[in-house]
């Protein structure tokens, strides 16, 4: 077990540097003239360029720039954005709200998916089953770039049930609509996986045994079947985190949430290499850590799995 975790953590270090390198290279290739983008229509004088180059090394070659970046990273310094802000501070400001948003989306989607999935599996072929099938297809077909503004328009602007935008110190209520929109990205697949997993487990031999033991249907389904059925669902939720992260870029943009996605989006638009690389790097770490946790959880849920 410990060896497994250590091995995974070592793999993580490699993945991390690989990911930062790729993102850095992509940003480098994409950069045209970041100073000009920053300045807009104004003319950037040679002396200004020289001063900025001294700070950001943009006149140097790719590997030199990457070397400066990694050197900073290893000393815990994410560098400064082209607008002069420390990226470490930006991260510290952006992450809490994104974590809140993503957790809310995960919880909402998981609760809805598991409850509805179990119910439609138990009543296979019933009305509820058919309705959820159609609904999940609709949700699956709807891209979030459409869903987010439409939801904002209908529930935020027209009906006025939810605030249209979100402030930095947002409460759960403010985040509810964006979280619902974000959750739709993953709820459909999670529901389908829950349904098929429960349906499959309902046919298992151990269910017959549980019934022969004189247990109530509620206990057979709610304890014996559910525990087995959740194994693939939990794994899926871990993988879905990646989907939610990318979905957060659009959702945070639409609802004006000053989180990770919002900063990342702005960074890409303004060709702000250090910002993009910094935010993506942390995203990569979070994704890797969560998936490690999910894999470890897998062994807790399924005692037949042991990590050597």
């Amino acid at each position: 077990m410990t060896r497994y975790i250590v091995r995974r953590l070592l793999q993580m270090v490699l993945t991390f540097f690989g990911a930062t390198f790729v993102v850095y290279a992509l940003m480098f290739a994409n950069q045209d003239d970041p100073y000009q983008v920053l300045a807009g229509d104004r003319v950037v004088s040679d002396s200004q360029r020289a001063a900025l180059n001294a700070q950001y090394h943009l006149d140097k070659g790719f590997f030199t720039q990457y070397w400066y970046y990694v050197k900073g990273l290893l000393t815990g310094d994410f560098g400064t954005s082209l607008t002069g802000r420390r990226i470490g501070d930006m991260l510290a400001e952006a992450w809490p709200i994104t974590i809140k948003l993503t957790l809310l989306a995960i919880v909402i989607s998981a609760v809805v998916a598991i409850a509805a999935g179990v119910f439609s599996a138990v009543r296979r072929g019933g009305i509820f089953d058919h309705v959820t099938l159609v609904l999940t297809l609709v949700v699956l077909a709807m891209p979030i770039v459409v869903l987010a503004p439409v939801a904002q328009l209908i529930f935020g602007v027209k009906l006025g049930w939810f605030p249209v935008t979100v402030t930095r110190d947002a409460n759960l209520y403010q985040l509810l609509l964006p979280a619902l929109v974000l959750g739709t990205l993953v709820v459909a697949t999670e529901l389908r996986v829950t349904r098929s997993s429960v349906a499959e487990n309902l046919r298992a031999d151990y269910v017959r045994t549980a019934r022969a033991k004189g247990l109530s249907t509620r206990r057979v389904v709610g304890v014996h079947v559910l525990r087995n059925s959740l194994i693939p669902v939990i794994t899926l939720i871990g993988v879905d985190l990646g989907v939610l992260m990318s979905g957060a870029i659009v959702t945070e943009g639409v609802f004006n949430i000053p989180g990770v996605g919002f900063n990342l989006f702005r960074g890409i638009r303004t060709e702000d290499g250090p910002v993009v690389v910094g935010f993506v790097s942390v995203l990569v770490i979070v994704f890797l850590v969560v998936n490690l946790i999910v894999d470890l959880l897998y062994a807790v849920l399924d005692p037949r799995i042991r990590y050597e």
Binding site: D205, R208, R211, A212, K213, H224, P303
Partner: protein
């Protein structure tokens, strides 16, 4: 411990003098998209305390379906009990509410299954699955239930029971796993145990151990045992009576020795002749020609007639009645006398 049993005794119609178990003209069919499969077609059987009834038959002869209908654990749909009665001490279980039925399960009639690895829940410890019986049916605390679970594992002679209750089913050997199943079935002191091919998945030496254990536990508790099997060898050693099933019917029922010495139904006779025997070494083994009929399309008259050496015109026309050929001996064949050789 006895409180729930006491409560059960006031079930309306319960008669302690009635048969422990009496299955009367049971009919079960499976309604599927491909048609209606008649799995059980008028099965009769009965069981006394302390007695072992072996139910013998090929796959698909309706043995397991009958057992699951007695337990009330058939999947409905597709399975439907379309007729008959299952009388436990005079009470028709088929007429009970689901809540009452559930109290009968495990408390009165328990069941063990063929493959203990898939029959036990893979993600819960053996201790949890055993203790669950006491917690759910007896309302015991976790601690008391755990103590009882250890006792049970001791009773089925699993070494190191105290530690092993924390293990998961896959950590046990096949024989030990079947012992766990037995412990679980016997947890609430049932009066009837239905064992559905309990040793089929085990190797021969372990089979003998499990059968011996079952016999001992049965004797200690004076429990009625229905042993479902297709293994004629297992049956000869342990059974008191045998019911032979074919295509959802009991075709012959007899005390064990009578059936081996003088089978009264052509199917039983053919089955016995198809057992490899040392004294017939080198000679060709007798087999029953053809296959069991599809349950969706049973032959008219006697279901066995297409494969039967004794079959004549009447067999494809009239279903043979159950002839009482001796006390406790029943056979459903038009030519019983001929088969018996009288």
């Amino acid at each position: 411990m006895t409180d729930i049993k006491a409560e059960m005794d006031v079930l309306p119609g319960m008669d302690p003098r009635a048969h422990l178990l009496h299955v009367d003209e049971l009919h079960v069919e499976f309604r599927t998209r491909d048609g209606v499969a008649k799995a059980v077609n008028g099965v009769n059987m009965w069981l006394r305390p302390g007695e072992t009834l072996a139910v013998l038959g090929e796959s698909g002869s309706g043995k397991s379906v009958t057992a699951q209908a007695i337990m009330g654990i058939l999947d409905t749909p597709p399975a439907h009990v379309t007729g008959g009665r299952v009388l436990y001490r005079g009470v028709d279980l088929l007429k009970l509410s689901e809540a009452d039925r559930r109290k009968v399960r495990a408390n009165r009639i328990a069941m063990i299954f063929q493959d203990a690895l898939s029959a036990l829940n893979p993600v819960f410890t053996v201790g949890f699955q055993l203790a669950e019986m006491f917690r759910m049916h007896r309302g015991m605390s976790r601690r008391d239930a755990k103590a009882r679970a250890i006792e049970l594992l001791d009773q089925v002679r699993i070494p190191g029971a105290r530690d092993r209750i924390h293990d998961y089913p896959h950590q046990f050997s096949g024989g030990m796993r079947q012992r766990v199943m037995i412990a679980m079935a016997l947890a609430l002191d049932p009066e009837i145990l239905i064992a559905d091919e309990p040793t089929t998945a085990l190797d021969v030496t372990v089979q003998a151990q499990i059968m011996k254990l079952l016999a001992e536990l049965q004797q200690q508790r004076n429990m009625g045992l229905i042993l479902i099997t297709h293994d004629m060898g297992v049956v000869a050693d342990v059974a008191d009576r045998i019911s032979v099933m074919y295509a959802g019917r009991v075709v012959e029922e007899a005390p064990v020795h009578d059936i081996y010495s003088r089978p009264a139904h052509p199917y039983t006779k053919a089955l016995l002749e198809s057992i490899p025997r040392l004294d017939r070494k080198g000679r060709q083994l007798n087999v029953i020609p053809g296959l069991p009929p599809p349950l969706t399309d049973l032959p008219s008259g006697c279901s066995f007639h297409p494969r039967c050496a004794y079959a004549r015109e009447i067999c494809s026309r009239d279903e043979p009645p159950a002839y009482q050929i001796a006390p406790q001996r029943i056979a459903s064949c038009h030519f019983v006398r001929e088969v018996l050789g009288v």
